[in-house]
């Protein structure tokens, strides 16, 4: 048994009303009996109001639509599929390159960490002996150059190997 609520959500004449609207018989050429029914049925009144407004808007949207041609759409889709395919295929390489850079930096960092006591000792000794005959104005640039070499050499090695 249908509940009262269930009966309220639909009307058996709804399809007839929509048919009259679709065939352009509504409102001028529709059967009198259907017109009387719509006047007395809240659901069909809503259906007519909503469906006629939306059909009119649909026709307007149809007129105002400026869509690309099918050939243009196909071409764009094909181009994009190609670009996406290349990007997806390149992704594992990009990930590997990222991992390699991180590893090189980690190795350089570890090397610096272990070498630091010796370097520190070297500079301390040098500072203490600045007045000695071994002191030289070239010592600081030399130390900077060596430090730079420590960083640049692994990177250069990486670049050379990855290009192969």
């Amino acid at each position: 048994m249908k509940s009262p609520n269930h009966q309220m959500i639909q009307c058996p004449r709804e399809a007839d009303v929509l048919d009259a609207l679709a065939s352009a018989r509504w409102p001028n050429r529709v059967e009198r009996e259907l017109a009387d029914h719509v006047a007395s049925c809240a659901i069909c009144t809503d259906v007519i109001a909503v469906a006629s407004a939306m059909r009119e808007d649909h026709d307007a949207a149809w007129r105002e639509a400026t869509i690309p041609s099918s050939g243009q759409m196909w071409w764009r889709a094909e181009m994009r599929a190609r670009q996406d395919a290349v990007r997806e295929a390149s992704r594992p390489v990009a990930v590997a390159q990222g991992v390699a850079v991180v590893l090189v930096l980690a190795v350089a960092g570890a090397a610096g960490w272990f070498a630091w006591p010796s370097v520190h000792e070297f500079f301390t000794t040098t500072a203490q002996n600045q007045t000695t005959a071994f002191a030289s104005p070239m010592l600081v640039p030399l130390a900077v150059a060596m430090g730079a070499l420590l960083v640049v050499a692994p990177l250069a090695l990486y670049v050379v190997l990855s290009e192969k």
Partner: protein, 188 residues
């Protein structure tokens, strides 16, 4: 070794695979597009209330449709799936726009008559009222009403296009219709 550069033959291979993997060949796609594109655009324009956004979503919908790895049993099945993609894209944009919906007011405002003799100004006013009323509905309600009354889709097609159960369409449609009728000033 950590890296492997893509060679020209690798690129050629992946590109050919990507094009082969598209849902349909060019002729089939173009025929399908010509049958459906205006409907999809109209649907997107009205549910989002934004014609420019509808242009973007139209392209995205067809692209995703072409890349979908699915087997379709009929043209209707294919069409419903396309509308499903379009609907999901519109939902994503709606969420990103924090739930705001534009009101796509009619483009023509001049007085005059349409080719079939109807009064253009009166139609423009009715469409403006409809656009404002639609903007007050939930996205799901707009979609459902458009599919049902503008496109004349069946409950089964609406369910397939929106990813809903067919059994729930009747009540949801009733509620949406009642809300729109009320917003249009029709007593229910």
């Amino acid at each position: 070794m950590f890296t492997r550069e893509l060679t020209a033959s690798d690129i050629e291979r992946v590109v050919l695979e990507a094009v082969d993997a598209l849902q349909m060949d060019e002729d089939t796609f173009r025929a399908f597009y010509d049958r459906t594109a205006r409907q999809v655009w109209a649907y997107l324009a009205r549910i989002t209330g934004d014609r420019t956004l509808a242009d973007d979503l139209l392209q995205e919908s067809y692209y995703r449709f072409l890349r979908a790895q699915r087997a379709f049993t009929s043209d209707s099945h294919r069409r419903n799936y396309l509308f499903r993609i379009a609907t999901n894209l519109a939902h994503d944009r709606h969420r990103r726009a924090h739930g705001t919906t534009s009101v796509a007011l009619p483009a023509e405002h001049e007085a005059g008559a349409l080719s079939d003799g109807r009064d253009l100004a009166a139609e423009t006013e009715r469409r403006t009222d409809l656009a404002r009323a639609m903007a007050r509905l939930k996205p799901r309600e707009r979609e459902m009403l458009w599919l049902a009354y503008a496109q004349g889709s069946s409950h089964e097609e609406i369910a397939a296009s929106l990813g809903l159960r067919k059994s729930s369409i009747k009540i949801l449609l009733f509620r949406a219709r009642r809300r729109l009728a009320a917003a249009l000033g029709v007593r229910s």
